[in-house]
């Protein structure tokens, strides 16, 4: 692992220990009450869920253009994080919605496009696992669709009528609510970088293992 990995992991761990304290001290929301505090983990998870397919799509585009294996490895790592953070977003969202909206799920543009984005992440991973020879390029094509879906997910709440809060709630947050939120965003971003580094290392080690098997057979 790189030299910065262990200090960054300790910092990230500390941030996740401190974050519940900041969240507990933040005020409840006027109409939703205490359940609003799911937002402090739901929103950063959702942002990582949007970041991961962008990394996956950009790396896949580079892989298709240049054919370098390191781009493919980065795309694969990001696809796994798409599925992870997508699951966290799609579980915490309904838990919040049950209390805030009175329903677990609505088939509006934001929720439906998020579900589609998550399924594209799964499609990538299933292709890589069971697709056989050539699945790397096929999966890279799928990843491009996943990346194109991201801006649609983000702007969907501003262009289509939905009960999901629009993107404008974040800049309008009062300081006592904004500070814990941005703290959690940075904690999740740091975690994202750490997980990407670990997942990339796994792929690099697997590549090395394949090379050793070849050398042993010769």
């Amino acid at each position: 692992m790189p030299k910065w990995f262990n200090p960054a992991a300790i910092l990230c761990g500390l941030m996740f220990v401190v974050s519940p304290v900041l969240i507990a001290r933040a005020p409840d929301e006027s109409s939703m009450g205490m359940v609003y505090k799911i937002y402090y983990y739901h929103m950063p998870s959702a942002w990582m869920f949007l970041l991961a397919p962008l990394v996956c799509g950009a790396s896949s585009a580079l892989f298709l253009a240049r054919g370098r294996p390191e781009d493919d490895r980065r795309a694969w790592a990001a696809a796994e994080l798409t599925v992870l953070f997508g699951a966290l977003t799609l579980i915490t969202g309904p838990l919040w919605a049950r209390r805030a909206w009175g329903t677990w799920w609505v088939w509006d543009a934001r929720l439906t496009s998020s579900l589609v984005g998550w399924m594209i992440g799964w499609a990538y991973l299933i292709l890589r696992r069971y697709g056989g020879p050539g699945s790397d390029k096929l999966a890279a094509g799928v990843a491009l669709f996943g990346a194109v879906n991201v801006p649609f997910i983000y702007i969907s709440v501003n262009y289509w009528r939905t009960i999901h809060p629009p993107t404008t709630v974040v800049p309008r947050l009062p300081v006592e609510m904004g500070v814990p939120l941005w703290f959690c965003v940075f904690a999740f971003l740091l975690l994202f970088v750490l997980l990407m580094t670990m997942r990339l290392r796994l792929e690099e080690t697997r590549t090395r293992l394949d090379g050793l098997y070849v050398a042993l057979d010769e």
Binding site: S31, M32, L95, R99, T162, R172, T205, L212
Partner: protein
């Protein structure tokens, strides 16, 4: 004439469905979050189990993924060390 009649029927069907479609529109979204005042509204659905559940899902999910990643990495590293040892023994 038949085409005009068909168009009128289609318009009537669409027109009769419009109020239902309008009524089925979701309510206006909340476009701003405000801190609670001195008199919080009474809760109809208890929030605490949902809130605690959400935090358990996130922290538990992340922890499980880190453990899974560490185990996979450990297993692959072990195989690499084993094969490197095997290659050394064969003098390559």
């Amino acid at each position: 004439m038949a085409a005009v009649r068909a168009a009128c029927v289609a318009l009537a069907i669409i027109g009769s469905g419009a109020p239902a479609a309008i009524a089925a529109q979701p309510p206006e979204p909340q476009d701003e979050f405000r801190p609670v005042g001195n008199n919080p509204a009474p809760e109809q659905i208890p929030a605490a189990p949902l809130l605690i559940g959400a935090y358990i899902v996130v922290l538990g999910g992340l922890f499980a993924y880190v453990v899974s990643l560490s185990r996979r990495l450990g297993a692959v590293r072990h195989d690499v060390e084993r094969l490197e040892g095997e290659l050394k023994r064969r003098g390559r």
